[in-house]
């Protein structure tokens, strides 16, 4: 993209010159008031849709199964739906998932700011990402005073879309890809991959890493974590080394979805062109397209009611199938816990059970943490869900075999245990 596309020439000369990686979006906003005004709207959005929307409703309340599934991990304490970009800073500072005790080796690292602030590109440039990530969240806080903003996506001056997150750059490189050769339409998706991707913190330096070396499909990511021997936490009383998936929208959408294969980008749906008098600009008021389907879908689909209806049909089917997977996982967890408590359990079988539990739950989470309730790639969502359920049931069966006790095979434990 950078290599193929000349910097845009604009009819209007910029009013002010913007410093490279300028963190203050208001300064950019002098030149681009429409974009800046629309970005600011993300702060106060709070309309909800059937499965998402812009309020910070609690997923743990909406689906209490997730409290069980994340037991022993901060996500079981606090996990809300995402809100607009301008709230990123407020929300990351408010979440109960943080551990602000700098003496604790499990303290929250600065890395958690990586996707929340327009200060980052400047800071990374200044100190390098390794140094940034090695600091604690607390230590970093004074440096961070802007939520997500222009510098996270644009190059000052040319306004071209760029990869600003070093982790993305490295992950693409590991796959032999050079984003500077991407087309403009590709960049309209890749720029979101600065943040809307599965990540983990590598090593004691908490180095931000995207697990893409083997590819971005769910099984390729699992195989990467297997090779790295990585786990996020150990499931209490079950002993399973768990993996947590986080917002893999990019990986999900690009895994051969209808829209991705048709050349549609994230920005097409989430940042549709809107009119401001005569001029058109990309709405920077990024939120669920179901809130403005006329703009978001209507540019391509003439029958807007029809496509909105389709989203509902797809999401309903995905939501039901997802709950079935959760129920199967909870049955498996209960069984593994019981088996683990039994000193006579066959260790090999129990470990097999854990391996399947780990894999099944990551698969389910990959779909569940993806924020479109399957719409970004319906077939992939359902295929993964089917596999997660199958593996969870097999995990349960192995746990029962490990202690030779069929009473571990009870199903629907979520509904029957108090």
């Amino acid at each position: 993209f950078m290599k193929n596309n000349p910097a845009q020439e604009r009819a209007l000369l910029p009013l002010v010159e913007i410093a490279p990686m300028e963190p203050d979006s208001a300064k950019w906003g002098v030149n681009f008031p429409s974009q800046w005004n629309s970005l600011q709207k993300t702060e106060t959005n709070n309309i909800d849709t059937a499965y998402a929307g812009s309020s910070a409703f609690s997923w743990l309340e909406r689906d209490p199964r997730q409290v069980i599934l994340f037991a022993g991990y901060p996500f079981s304490k606090d996990y809300n739906d995402d809100r607009g970009h301008m709230n990123a800073l407020e929300d990351v500072r408010a979440t109960k998932r943080l551990n602000l005790n700098d003496e604790d080796p499990k303290r929250t690292p600065a890395t958690c700011y990586s996707c929340k602030s327009s200060n980052n590109p400047g800071l990374w440039e200044e100190m390098g990402m390794a140094e940034y990530d090695a600091m604690s969240f607390n230590e970093m806080t004074p440096n961070i005073n802007n939520a997500i903003g222009c510098s996270n996506c644009h190059e000052a001056g040319t306004m071209r879309l760029i990869v600003t997150n070093p982790a993305l750059n490295e992950a693409l490189e590991a796959q032999g890809k050079d984003w500077t050769t991407f087309t403009r339409q590709e960049m309209r998706t890749v720029v979101c991959a600065n943040c809307h991707v599965e990540y983990y913190f590598d090593g004691p330096g908490k180095y931000l890493t995207f697990p893409w070396t083997n590819g971005t499909r769910v099984d390729q990511i699992i195989s990467y974590y297997e090779e790295e021997g990585f786990s996020d936490w150990t499931y209490p009383e079950a002993g399973t080394p768990m993996l947590k998936a986080q917002h893999p929208e990019y990986e999900f959408f690009t895994a051969g979805s209808t829209h991705y294969n048709a050349g549609v980008s994230c920005a097409d749906c989430h940042m549709p062109y809107v009119r401001d008098g005569a001029a058109k600009y990309s709405s920077h008021d990024v939120h669920s397209p179901l809130i403005n389907p006329e703009q978001a879908c209507g540019q391509c689909h003439t029958d807007v009611n029809y496509v909105v209806g389709r989203v509902a049909t797809i999401q309903e089917q995905v939501a039901v199938t997802k709950i079935a997977a959760e129920d199967a996982l909870i049955d498996a967890i209960n069984a593994i816990q019981l088996a683990a408590a039994n000193p006579n359990a066959d260790a090999a079988l129990l470990d097999q059970a854990r391996a399947l539990h780990r894999k099944a739950q990551f698969m389910w989470d990959f779909l569940s943490a993806e924020n479109s309730t399957g719409f970004h790639n319906p077939e992939y969502a359902l295929k993964i869900c089917a596999e997660a359920t199958n593996l969870a049931r097999q995990a349960q069966m192995l746990a029962a075999q490990s202690v030779n006790d069929p009473s571990l095979l009870t199903t629907g434990t979520y509904y029957t245990t108090p």
């Binding site: 087309t183 403009r184 339409q185 050349g263 097409d268 549709p272 062109y273 809107v274 009119r275 005569a278 058109k280 006329e294 703009q295 209507g298 540019q299 391509c300 689909h301 003439t302 807007v304």
Partner: protein, 166 residues
Amino acid sequence: MKNFPLSLPVLAALACFGLAMGVFVWTSDALAYAGTRAETCNNCHVMHPMYENYYHAAHEQWAECADCHLPHENVFSYYFEKGRQGMHDVYVFSTGATPELIRANEHSQEIIQGNCIRCHNETVETVMMGPQPYDRNCWDCHRAVSHGERGLSTSPYQDSSLYPVK
């Protein structure tokens, strides 16, 4: 009312009005709106995506906007509809009430469908099966025929060579 009193002031007023209209029509090229050139419709920039897509689609060399969008049963319905639609478009445009998505209403869909059949009668005779009600539009299948690949794209990058998509 037996004698129509054509007083001088009235006549003068009418003449002035006529002259003013004439000048208006001459200078503004308003008569073009009585014609059929596609470029005329494109005078309104909100019609631009339709024009662009039309220009690059199959009918550019065969049909003007009016060939599809105005009824052709007889000259009266043609000009009546032209006037009605034109007034509507101008009204909406000048009051700034242009909707985000412009869509053909049911009435104009009927007109368009009639025109498809008018030109392609021979082709579709067998499948139209005479006067049997045809409960879907030709462009339900021929989605690209009038305004580009995916119905009507109003997003600039899709219809402008300035912004190559790939």
